[in-house]
């Protein structure tokens, strides 16, 4: 446990020493929100689109999920694959630090960063655009936690399974596709059924709905939770396989 907290702390310090990464991580969701807010404003809700909650209200929880997905699918695998490629992981494996604490630190450190990035996004949305605040904070935190864990585990798997360049390519591609079809892009009401079916096979879709349901007070969505747990279990199994293999 001491090893995990120490490695996590070190990872966070390393993150703050990459100013460009810090800037991108915290500025991008903010910029997107700003563009969106300028385009739509917080238009009065239309029951037929945006799940009936209004544009910006719809996007805030979806973007929180998107931030979690970006860091889990892109930042984490790139970081871990570089460790693998450069021999950093070998260094840790040969030391007394348990290798699981190095993996755990990736998830823990990205979790902290995701919390900060999401908090900035939400505070700006609430303060500037007066979007809806979470109806059930406990459920939102639960959804966030599950999402961060799921995407963190997918990130571990990608980072261990692929070389750094391929991990980056795969992460960006997956993230971009999910962004378009899984909720943070066009609202589900306007997407064709075929695409919605594909979206159903993406973890982001389930996280977006789980997060929105919690946010708008639609209640805790057990179906979405189970889907996410399925992705989490699959990613964990793959991570274990690849961690053993390397």
């Amino acid at each position: 446990m001491r090893a995990l907290t120490k490695t996590t702390w070190v990872e966070l310090k390393l993150f703050t020493r990459e100013p460009l990464t810090v800037l991108f991580t915290f500025a991008i969701p903010f910029v997107v929100l700003f563009v969106l807010g300028s385009v739509f404003g917080n238009a009065p809700p239309n029951p037929h689109v945006y799940r009936g909650v209004g544009t910006l209200n719809y996007y805030v929880p979806a973007y929180v999920a998107l931030v979690v997905a970006a860091i889990g699918l892109i930042a984490l695998p790139v970081h871990l694959a570089a460790y693998q490629e450069r021999g950093v992981l070998r260094r840790f494996r040969a030391s007394t630090i348990p290798v699981w604490s190095v993996f755990g630190a990736q998830i823990a450190a990205t979790f902290v960063i995701e919390v900060l990035a999401s908090a900035i996004l939400v505070i700006v949305a609430l303060a500037v655009y007066h979007t809806r605040s979470p109806q059930s904070l406990g459920e939102v935190i639960g959804a966030f936690f599950l999402g961060a864990l799921t995407f963190g585990m997918i990130g571990l798997f990608l980072g261990l399974a692929l070389p750094a360049r391929a991990a980056q390519g795969a992460g960006v591609l997956l993230w971009f596709v999910m962004m378009q079809i899984s909720g943070p892009g066009a609202p589900p009401e306007v997407l064709p059924t075929a695409i919605l079916r594909v979206a159903d096979a993406t973890p982001l879709q389930h996280l977006v709905v789980l997060m929105q349901d919690a946010w708008f007070g639609f209640g805790w969505n057990n179906g979405e939770m189970l889907s996410l747990l399925g992705f989490l279990a699959g990613a964990t199994a793959l991570t274990i396989v690849f961690a053993r293999r390397s």
């Binding site: 001491r2 070998r90 494996r93």
Partner: protein, 302 residues
């Protein structure tokens, strides 16, 4: 011998590459033991199997009485490893690395002392990326020592260092040995192994072709002694009949005699009898390098 490392018939295959075929040796407590061999001989693979970083495909390995693979976390606490190819995160600072690696050690940390001893005290706030090759190697050794290990594995640690840095490193390795820590030194430099190691295993193509003290290995090659002196008179054909002489050749005014055992003494006595007293009479003993090439060469023919 109450061995701290016991390897018997170790074998490791990567796909279709037979990296280690049949490696056996033992290391006694407190020894500085060398693994010497050309690139690709299987040295790194061998020590990785001893460190519990790779699962052997065959053979019997015990390190400190433990099975390195099955009991790797117990083993890690008692050994230290500087790896041939490894790195730290670029922006990690020297003191942070030591602090991190000391987190899980049971013994009180000797971080400050290690920084001083390995010449890193003034680099404590430098990032890994900004360290020179020699500084990185010293940091890796300091990290390997942070848990006060019973055995340290050093793999090609002077490769890429300039001569002065190599000498400093040698002194430090000797200092580790003097404290009673067992050292396994992997190298392809003969001079390094000859100077530092009490015993050496010569590895070639995944096999141990010889294990002995450097002196005894050199003595094996003692058949190849050469006696040399300057001579400007008539050819000394009678030298051929002196005991232990195999071959005499003359190049301009240089006489070169190949022989074995006490050839030098016999040649000197015979020369005196003929009232020849060359002032530059000397014997050239083979060094580890000659012996190494000879042993590797024989293995190649066989």
């Amino acid at each position: 011998m109450n061995a701290v490392i016991d390897v018997e018939g170790l074998r490791k295959v990567y796909g279709s590459t037979l990296a280690v075929d049949d490696v056996s040796f033992q290391v006694a407590p407190g020894e500085i033991f060398g693994l010497l061999g050309p690139n690709g001989a299987g040295k790194t693979t061998t020590v990785e199997c001893l460190q519990g970083l790779r699962h052997p495909d065959g053979g019997h390995v015990r390190v400190l009485g433990l099975d390195p693979w099955a009991q790797r976390s117990a083993l890690r606490r008692r050994i230290g490893s500087q790896l041939q190819e490894s790195a730290l995160p670029d922006r990690l600072k020297v003191w942070e690395a030591l602090d991190l690696f000391a987190t899980t050690t049971l013994s009180p940390s000797n971080r400050e002392q290690l920084l001083e001893q390995w010449g890193l005290a003034d680099k404590r706030n430098a990032s890994f990326a900004n360290l020179s090759g020699g500084q990185r190697q010293r940091l890796f050794v300091a990290l390997a020592l942070v848990n006060q290990p019973e055995i340290v594995f050093l793999d090609e640690m002077t490769t890429g260092l300039d001569p002065a840095a190599r000498r400093i490193t040698w002194d430090l390795i000797e200092a580790i040995g003097k404290r009673g820590t067992t050292v396994v030194l992997v190298s392809h430099f003969m001079d390094e192994v000859q100077r530092l190691c009490q015993r050496v295993a010569i590895v070639n193509h995944g096999h141990v072709v010889a294990v002995d003290t450097p002196e005894k290995l050199i003595a094996r090659g003692a058949r190849q002694l050469r006696v040399l002196f300057t001579w400007e008179g008539e050819p000394l054909a009678w030298l051929e009949s002196v005991p232990h002489v195999h071959h005499v050749s003359q190049q301009e005014n240089q006489i070169e005699i190949e022989g074995d055992g006490p050839v030098f003494q016999h040649v000197a006595a015979a020369l005196l009898q003929h009232s020849i007293e060359p002032t530059d009479l000397r014997v050239e003993r083979p060094n580890l390098e000659d012996v190494f090439l000879q042993i590797i060469g024989k293995a190649e023919e066989g």
